[in-house]
């Protein structure tokens, strides 16, 4: 294989790389659109509901849900950026250690979405209370949904990411030996 064969596609590749950058920018934009459109809509809904009911719980519910969505949307944006842009220019050992951390099922940085989840829980609880349902009902529903999500996530992790994590971890151990 000659250098020429490699290089003929360079301009095409540069275009592909720029497209990839644009792709990332598009995803971020979509997420931004999600919360910049969805959040005002939720605000309008909250105001309308409060105007009709004059219940303070409608405001608490609406604000908590809006903040919860905002928090999770921003956390998603941050995590997506971290996952999408793996730094291949780090020393091999450091890159592999970071990869092991990325493929762990439970990570410290995932705690960042806890405030968002709590806000959504508060929002949901007040929403359901307004409909005459008990706090216990909303908590059981919310915790059940979270537990279901965690179980599905763990199953996906076990079959898709654990083998990868184990292989990378073996490489780390080998380098450190």
């Amino acid at each position: 294989m000659t250098a020429h064969e490699f290089d003929t596609n360079l301009s095409k590749l540069t275009g592909k790389l720029k497209k990839e950058d644009r792709h990332y920018a598009t995803i971020v934009k979509v997420v931004q659109i999600f919360y910049w459109i969805f959040i005002p809509l939720f605000m309008v809904k909250t105001v309308v509901e409060y105007t009709n009911s004059h219940e303070i719980s409608d405001i608490i519910s609406g604000v908590a849900l809006i903040l919860g969505f905002l928090f999770i949307a921003l956390s998603f944006r941050k995590l997506y950026k971290e996952y999408q842009y793996v730094d291949y220019s780090l020393p091999t050992l450091e890159m592999l250690k970071k990869a092991v951390c990325r493929y762990q099922p439970f990570q410290k940085r995932a705690l960042g979405i806890v405030p968002g989840l709590l806000l959504m829980d508060v929002g949901l609880t007040f929403e359901w209370m307004g409909e005459g349902k008990s706090v216990l009902d909303s908590q059981l529903f919310f915790l059940g949904a979270i537990l279901f999500g965690v179980i599905i996530g763990l199953v996906i992790w076990y079959f898709k990411y654990k083998p990868l994590r184990d292989k990378i971890f073996a490489l780390v151990r080998e380098i450190e030996q």
Binding site: M1, F6, L10, L13, T14, Y88, S89, L90, T92
Partner: protein
């Protein structure tokens, strides 16, 4: 200098280095091209993080080696290290005069190829950098371990290879 200009400069100055790493890991020309493209994609992605703390060549080798370890086109167990009699610095692995002469013989080369491919993924990465003529210090900077640690690992690999090739009859 724009990102594109910086990228083009890096590729034009380090293209041969990247191509060599790709050749070590792929016998098939199409696979070499795929890996080359993936290395370039990763150089592009990592370009913003280059601050000039290390030499550009070391930085490029890091991206190339790290890409080879995570190359999506190949499973770890299928990863092979390809060398031929033209491979620069091949004698740096076997610095025994008699063995160097014998390397001209196809049979020994094939045997050596076989033994190299029994090495672990990390040992293959170390050997590919050694074959590229990098110093122990530079290899340490690429892999992220200490220089003495690199020396110990390379010495161990060389000893194992020599031991295995010692009994080879031509």
């Amino acid at each position: 200098m724009t990102k594109e200009e910086k990228f083009n400069t890096i590729v034009s100055e380090n293209g041969e280095r990247i191509r060599n790493i790709c050749r070590y890991y792929n016998s098939n020309v199409e696979d070499q091209k795929d890996m080359y493209q993936e290395v370039l994609v990763n150089i592009w992605k990592s370009l913003d993080s280059f601050r000039g703390d290390s030499a550009m060549s070391t930085w490029v080798y890091r991206v190339a080696v790290n890409t080879s370890l995570t190359f999506t086109g190949k499973a770890f167990r299928h990863m092979k290290l390809m060398v031929d009699s033209d491979t620069t610095n091949l004698n740096s692995i076997l610095d025994d005069e008699n063995l160097k002469q014998k390397l001209a013989e196809e049979k020994l080369l094939e045997r050596m190829q076989l033994e190299l491919n029994q090495l672990s993924v990390i040992d293959k990465a170390l050997i590919s950098l050694l074959l590229e003529g990098l110093s122990m210090k530079e290899i340490a900077e690429v892999i992220g371990i200490t220089e003495p640690n690199v020396k110990v690992k390379i010495h161990r690999i060389k000893s194992q290879l020599k031991e295995k090739l010692k009994g080879e009859q031509l």
